[in-house]
């Protein structure tokens, strides 16, 4: 890993009821995807902690949640209590908070734009059904638009990193 990297590894969107809606990883083999599902689930605990510590906080960005092996995990909660978990490659010099916040704003906007599609069937509010699991894994076409936008964000982030060197 040469120089600064905005190499996004994975993004997870978790519903207000703590059901994972979409876990998207970038450029990883299928066998390694499981790691990011694990990361998404463990992040939930840390997020709960942070939220309960300060219930009055209106800040969306939750900061660096923890570091695991070679990834840094950042958390973000939207006003509708949708949680976004971002796993990024660990770099020598830590990324500035403002840069990560910028990334999260892009991820939030991508989610919001996808929701505007009237043909999107509503995100699950009842339990996690079997058909939703395939969608969450990225196999179905419910989140096709969102996955496309995420790919674009990841590509833009990488290009930005190279330009910044």
């Amino acid at each position: 890993m040469s120089g600064k990297g905005f190499k996004m590894r994975a993004v997870a969107y978790i519903s207000p009821q703590n059901f994972p809606m979409l876990v998207k990883s970038f450029g990883t083999k299928e066998s390694e995807e499981l790691k990011y599902h694990y990361i998404a689930h463990t992040s939930l605990d840390v997020i709960e902690e942070r939220i309960n510590a300060d219930p009055k906080a209106t800040e969306c960005f939750l900061g660096l949640l923890y570091v695991l092996e070679d990834v840094c995990v950042y958390g973000y909660i939207t006003p509708t209590r949708v949680k976004i978990v971002l796993a990024m490659d660990q770099v020598d010099d830590f990324l500035k908070d403002s840069d990560v916040i910028l990334l999260f704003k892009a991820l939030h906007t991508a989610y919001h734009d996808t929701l505007c599609n009237p043909f999107l069937h509503q995100p699950l509010s009842q339990g996690l059904r079997t058909e939703d699991i395939a969608q969450m894994m990225g196999r179905g076409d419910k989140w096709k638009g969102l996955r496309r936008r995420l790919d674009r964000i990841a590509a833009a982030a990488e290009k930005h990193a190279i330009a910044a060197q």
Binding site: T114, C116, N117, P118, F119, D141, K144, G145
Partner: protein
Amino acid sequence: MSSTKQYKSIGDDLWKSRTDKINAELFTMAYGSLVVQLIQDYEDYAEVNKQLEKMGYNIGIRLIEDFLARSSLGKCADFREVGEVVAKVGFKSFLNITPIVHHHPAPTPAGGVGPSTTTPRSSLLPSQNAAAQAQTHSMPGASFVLTIDENPLAEFVELPDTALPTTAPEGSTAGAPNQTGLWYSNILCGVLRGALEMVQMQCEVVFLSDTLRGDETTEIRVKLVRYLEEEVPVGDD
């Protein structure tokens, strides 16, 4: 081309002077919910297209009054001008978009040598030539194509695969109601048809392509079928 600039500035002025504008996202989402609800109710995309067009027609017959009152434009000289006004003043003042217009004069009757725009007829005076061209632009069969590059109705919309047209090579098989697929913004066709009918022009308005379906452009063709004669109400002597 001065009239083109005129229409453009009229359209701009009308848009700016309009005080009751609606939030674009609200508009887009309301229309989206409408289409989704129609699909749930009818479950047949061809029927949904028809219903959207009907709704548009009802809007169009009323919208034209508003338009004529605000713009106070006179009668158009020919169908070509109709196309210009629709694109530059109509669409601009209501949706704040300006589609590009391509005019197609009426096809000439078989056997006749009609004036074509490519072969200049030097024997005619320019004014006569223009009049002849205007005539074919007013004959039934004349049409114009509106190319919309930013459709406010369809922002962030992604059609499900079932709404796309099926490419069945054979004849329609039983249970394949989806030959033409969904035209998401079909309400616009109805609006144009209704509005033009109120100014004595019966037109056929259809979508030719739609970026939502994967086509390159979004195009609507408006073809003049015939002029409607003023009908004297029964009872007059």
